[in-house]
């Protein structure tokens, strides 16, 4: 992993990083810079840094990937590869509200497919999509570990268990309204 960078390319990337347009004005970048600094700008800290970007910006925008690549002296292709490899990272902005439906085994056999079908029918979104008006993002999780309460979901960060299809539709309906 430890790719040796020549001095000149190091200088080049450092000057590029200094000129990164957004770094100074936007407070959110401070968080990102802080994570990189705490890890000594090590290339190993790529995933940690992407976590911070996602936390502060909500998703990984292209400019952010470029910025991180420059700062950590990594090829953009590698950064992009990592960002797309892991399910947790999203390269698209999320909607105003997010609805995560758990698709773990327990939830699956407890009737999640019916809930997803219903959401698709009523709101026209399939997992991974955001409604056209940007109100609701629908996601599926690979198991949120609330199997005792299957089927479970996360609505804007709040975990809810023993979901009933009608209650889910009603909740989403309130978001759209």
């Amino acid at each position: 992993m430890e790719t040796k960078t020549t001095e000149s390319s190091q200088e080049l990337s450092q000057s590029a990083a200094k000129e990164a347009p957004v770094a100074a004005e936007d407070g959110r970048w401070k968080q990102v810079n802080r994570t990189m600094r705490l890890n000594g700008h090590s290339q190993h800290a790529l995933i940690e840094t992407l976590h911070t970007v996602q936390e502060t910006f909500g998703y990984l925008e292209m400019d952010a990937l470029k910025y991180v690549a420059e700062k950590l002296r990594l090829p953009l292709s590698l950064v992009y590869g990592v960002a797309t490899f892991y399910h947790f990272f999203s390269l698209k902005p999320a909607g105003e509200h997010t609805c995560v439906v758990c698709m773990g085994t327990a939830c699956y056999i407890a009737g999640v497919p019916a809930i997803l079908d219903g959401i698709k029918e009523k709101y026209g979104v399939t997992p991974g999509e955001t409604t056209a008006d940007g109100k609701i993002s629908l996601l599926v999780a690979r198991c949120i570990g609330s199997c005792g309460l299957a089927p479970a979901g996360v609505f804007d960060g709040d975990v809810a268990g023993k979901l009933k299809p009608d209650a889910v539709f009603e909740k989403l309906g309130r978001w759209v309204a």
């Binding site: 995933i47 940690e48 990592v82 085994t105 327990a106 699956y108 570990g145 609330s146 309460l149 268990g161």
Partner: protein, 550 residues
Amino acid sequence: MNLEDILEIAKVEKEKASQFKHSILVCVAAGCVSCQSLQVKDALVREVKSRGLEAEIQVKGVGCLGLCAVAPLMVIEPGGVMYQGVKPEDAKDIVDAIGNIPVKRLECDSQSPFFKRQEKIVLENCGVIDPERIEEYIAVGGYQGLYKALRAGAPNKVTEEITKSGLRGRGGGGFPTGLKWQAVAKAENPTKYVICNADEGDPGAFMDRSVLESDPHRVIEGMVIAGYAVGAQIGYVYIRAEYPLAIKRLKIAIQQAERNGMLGNQIFSTPFSFSIKIRLGAGAFVCGEETALIASIEGRRGMPRPRPPFPAEYGLWGYPTLINNVETFANIPPIVAKGGDWFAGIGTEKSKGTKVFALAGRINNCGLIEVPMGTKLRDIVFDIGGGIPDGKKFKAVQTGGPSGGCIPEQHLDMSVDYESLAAVGSIMGSGGMIVMDETSCMVDVAKFFIEFMMSESCGKCVPCRVGTAQIYTILCKITEGNGEVGHLEQLEELGDLVKNASLCGLGMTAPNPALSTLKYFRHEYMEHIHKKTCSAGVCRMNKQKEVKHA
């Protein structure tokens, strides 16, 4: 910090606890928190305060009480009265009933087989101590195992004790922990690492999450002991980003341990130093595989590499590395404190100790349980689990997550240990147990798991990347009513190929759900192919085809 200091902290803490006449213990693990247990706790605190009983009644949050199906749960000590499905409005009645007759409508039978049939080692402090306070962990004997290991035994003595205990890896593989430690200890390199695998990716499993949320110090203590035994200085906990509460509690626990001198430089005034860092996973099932996990900690895509060299020789950044699962580390402190022989006395001949299982699916008592190895599967499902709800008929129990298999009714009387599970085509896995009844279609379940494996395959080796996709395509055809004679043979052939030719554990076990359902539920596949019907009513068959064929 020395032994007297620890005992002093324990003494002060016990004295403090004994001042209260009653304690209300509210579960604040993730399952109960999602059922508003924090609001219940606040309501109880307010209620106790409004009556001026703060000096008599203590309200505290504790880890998982086990029976997640009827969350939120709470216990009143002394007496052990348990309440289920509590709401903030119930606070008044609950405080009224303390010392009197318990509130009937909320009572949960704490003498039921679910609680009585369990034997707890890993979960002994779950539901007893406040996971966010190190003093409570010390008061129940915590960190004394570490002290004993550091002050009384040479590193190889600790490893010997672990070998003697017969502990095997709880992450799924079942590799003897003592042997792994020996291999890392033998490696000649001054820099070594210890990694705790908390990337619990199996859908339907929540054991590691519950342990970290309920008793994080136990895992830390286990890691420090491991670090001492193998000669490592730095530990990493690789934990799923999907577990925010577990991450928060682990961070608090690490800070407290550092402040009290159980982590950091010169632990317990010995030359041994050890620190622990947290690395967040980012949602990739393959990262449970040790070489993929190492790649992920190094900031790369989580792709496995061929072994050997094993991480014990060439691990994190090329240094010798010990990787164990959360539950394995949680077993270490009691083994060191009570001795390997004590641990070896529990369980079966080849599988020692206890195992934590997450019971879920179509079963009455969903939740977290711990039973000795060798317990009968039937006892777990029908006695502890309370059987199938709504009078439905049991069909299968799925163990080991997507890498495991489905065990049918005729094997229910088998004992649960590493060898027996392997003999029926499943695996121990990390400990998820999903019960299915007659409303589940086994072909559909196999399709669900293969779809999971297909999307989680990292794509590095061809058998896994292409093989899982082909199996999925065939299963789709069968469940859509387009199955043909000969598909089953193709499935078996493909499964065999993927199993034997894949690079890592993910591929080697990926066809298990399909193969085990083919073995035990072949009639369901036949029904889908020949009659184009799904008797469980799950698959939507292409009716037109049926007419054509008939």
